[in-house]
C-alpha cells in the first residue's frame, strides 16, 4: 500500500524533473559550447558546431595558446584578488570590532558615516576616482585595483561582521581580558576563530567580486604585463581575426581558478552567492 503511494508520487515528479532539466540545460549550454569549441579550429567549428569531435582530432594547440596568453593575467588577478580580499577582511574585522565591542564617543556618528555609503552608487564617482588615482600616480598599477576594492568592500563587510561579533558571548571577551589580552589579541584569538565560517563566506564574495571586475582594470591598466583577466579578455575580444577555439580555451582557463575554489568550498560558495545577492 505504502509503496503504491510512493510510486504514484514518484511518477508525479517526472514532469517536474523534465522541466527543471530543460532549464538547467539552457543554463549549462554556454559552458558546453565553450568546452567543445575550445578543441576545434574555425573550419571544424563551421562544419560541425554542435557536437564534440573525436579526441584524436582535438586541437590541443588552442589550449597551449591560451595557457601562454592567460597565465600571466591569472597570476596578476590572483595577486590582486588575494591581497585585496585579505586586506578587505582585515580592515573590516578591526572596524566591526570597534563598533561591536564598546560604545565609544562618536561611534554612532561613525556608524552612520559608513551606512550612508550604501546609498552611494559607485557609477557616479568613477570619473573623479580616475583623476584621484592619477593624482596619486596609481594609474597603471595593480595597487590601485587592490586599494579601490578594499575601500569599496568595507561597508558591506562591516555591516555583516558587526552583527556576528555582537552576537558572540560577552564571557569570551571578558575571559580574554582577565587573561590580560589587549584588543588586538582579542581580535586575533576570539573574533577570528569564532567568525571563521562567515569570514570564509565574505572572503569568497570579495574574491569573486575582484575576479569579475573588468571596468576598473579597463580604466586603470595600460601595460600588457599588468593586465588582469578582465582587461586581457576584453582585448582578446577586440582582436579582428578570431580563432574561436583559442578564445574559448582562454575563457575556460579564466574560470579554472574559480572552479578549483568551488571544489574546495562548495558549501561556503552556495551560501555566499545567495547572501551576496541579498546584499543591499
Amino acid at each position: 500500500m505504502k509503496s503504491a503511494v510512493f510510486s504514484i508520487r514518484g511518477r508525479r515528479d517526472w514532469p517536474k524533473h523534465l522541466i527543471i532539466l530543460a532549464f538547467l540545460s539552457i543554463e549549462l549550454f554556454p559552458l558546453y559550447m565553450m568546452f567543445q569549441v575550445s578543441f576545434k579550429d574555425n573550419a571544424t567549428f563551421i562544419r560541425n558546431p554542435w557536437l564534440p569531435t573525436n579526441p584524436t582530432f582535438w586541437h590541443w594547440e588552442n589550449w597551449v595558446f591560451a595557457v601562454k596568453l592567460i597565465l600571466p593575467y591569472i597570476a596578476n588577478t590572483i595577486f590582486v584578488a588575494v591581497t585585496g580580499t585579505a586586506a578587505t577582511l582585515a580592515f573590516a574585522v578591526c572596524a566591526s570590532y570597534f563598533f561591536a565591542r564598546r560604545r565609544m564617543p562618536l561611534s554612532g556618528l561613525l556608524w552612520y558615516a559608513f551606512l550612508v555609503l550604501m546609498l552611494l552608487p559607485s557609477v557616479a564617482n568613477i570619473v573623479p576616482l580616475f583623476t584621484l588615482l592619477r593624482e596619486l600616480s596609481l594609474l597603471n598599477t595593480l595597487s590601485a585595483l587592490i586599494i579601490v576594492s578594499v575601500a569599496g568592500g568595507q561597508v558591506f563587510n562591516i555591516f555583516v561582521l558587526r552583527g556576528f561579533i555582537e552576537d558572540l558571548p560577552k564571557d569570551l571577551f571578558e575571559a580574554a581580558e582577565i587573561d590580560g589580552a589587549g584588543h588586538l589579541q582579542q581580535v586575533l584569538h576570539v573574533v577570528l576563530p569564532q567568525c571563521a565560517p562567515i569570514l570564509g563566506t565574505l572572503g569568497i564574495l570579495a574574491f569573486l567580486g575582484i575576479w569579475n571586475d573588468f571596468l576598473l582594470p579597463l580604466i586603470v591598466l595600460r601595460d600588457k604585463q599588468l593586465f588582469t583577466l578582465g582587461v586581457g579578455l576584453v582585448y582578446l575580444d577586440g582582436e579582428y581575426v578570431k580563432q574561436w577555439g583559442q578564445i574559448m580555451a582562454s575563457y575556460f582557463l579564466a574560470a579554472v581558478p574559480l572552479i578549483i575554489l568551488f571544489l574546495f568550498s562548495m558549501r561556503l560558495f552556495v551560501r555566499g552567492l545567495s547572501q551576496g545577492a541579498i546584499k543591499g
Binding site: 554556454p30 561613525l110 557616479a124 564617482n125 576616482l129 575601500a151 569579475n212 578582465g230
Partner: protein, 315 residues
Amino acid sequence: MVAPNRLKKSFKEWKLYGFVLPSLAMVMVFAYFPALSAVYHSFFEWNGGDLQQFVGGANFLRAWRDPVLWQSFGTVFALMIFNFFKMMPSILLAVLIHRLRSDRWQYIYRVLLVIPMVVPQLVTLFIWKFFFDPNLGVLNRVLDIIGGKTALVWLDHVFHWNVFFTGVPIGWLAQPELILPALFIWGFPWIGAVGVLIYLAGLQSIGHEVYEAAELEGIGPFGKFFYIELPLILTQIRLTLALLIIGTLQGYGLQLLLLDTNGGPGGRGMVPGLWMYNRAFLAGEFGYACAVGMVLFVFILVLTSLNNRFVRAER
C-alpha cells in the same frame, strides 16, 4: 588610586579608535572624496586636468537638452521593466525544485545551479556575444533549425518591421531595431540561477503541515502556488527585483562590451552609465560626465526610497 586606573583604562579605550581608523581613512579617501568631487565638478567645465571653469548649472541644462541622455534613460527603463519578466522562470524553477520529494535531487540541482556562476561574468558575456554573431552565432543556427527564422520573416511580412529577410542572417547586435531585443534575451541564465537560490531559501521555511492542510482543502498545484508559495517568497521576490532594477540602472559594462562605447548602431543600446563613461573617457568632458552621474544618482536615490517605502507599507 582610582583616578590613574580610570585614566589608564580610558587611554586603553582610546586605542580602540585605532581599529576603525584604517577603514575610515580608506572610505574617506576613495569613496567620500570622489563622491564629493563629483558633486563639485558637475558645476564646472572640466577636462579632467588643469582646465577648470565654473559654469553654474550649464552642465545640467545641457543634460536636460541632451537627446542621447533622454534616449539612454528610455533604454534603461525598458531594461528595468524587462527584469520583471526575467524573474519569472527562476521563480517557477525554484518552486519546482522545492516541490520535489527527494532531498537528494534537490541538493543535486542546487549544486548544478551554482556551476554557471563559477564562470566569470565577463566570460558569460563574451560567450553570449559569440552566440549573437550573425554567421557563426548559435542563436541564428538554433532559429534556423527550429524554424524560428521563417516565423520571424513571416511576422515581418505581416507587420512590416523591415528587419527580418529570407537569406539574410539576423545581425542581433548590428541592426538598431534588434539591439533592445538582444539585450532582453541576454543574461537570463545567470540572473535566473542566483534568484533560484534566494527563492529556495525562502521556500524552505514553509512547513509540511501547510501543504497537508492545503491538500485536505482540495487545493490543486496552481492554488498552492498562488496561495502558499508566492505570498511566502514575496519578500525575496521584491528584494531581488529591487536589486535587479538598481543594478540595471547603474550598469554599463554589459552594453560597453556587447555594443562598444557608442552603444551600438544608432546608439540604441546607450544607457546613462555608458554615456557618462563615453563623455569622460572618450570626449574628455569630465565635468559634463560628473553632471550625468549626478542625474543618475538622483534617479537611483528616488528609486531606492520608493522601494523602501513600498516594502515597508507591505509589511
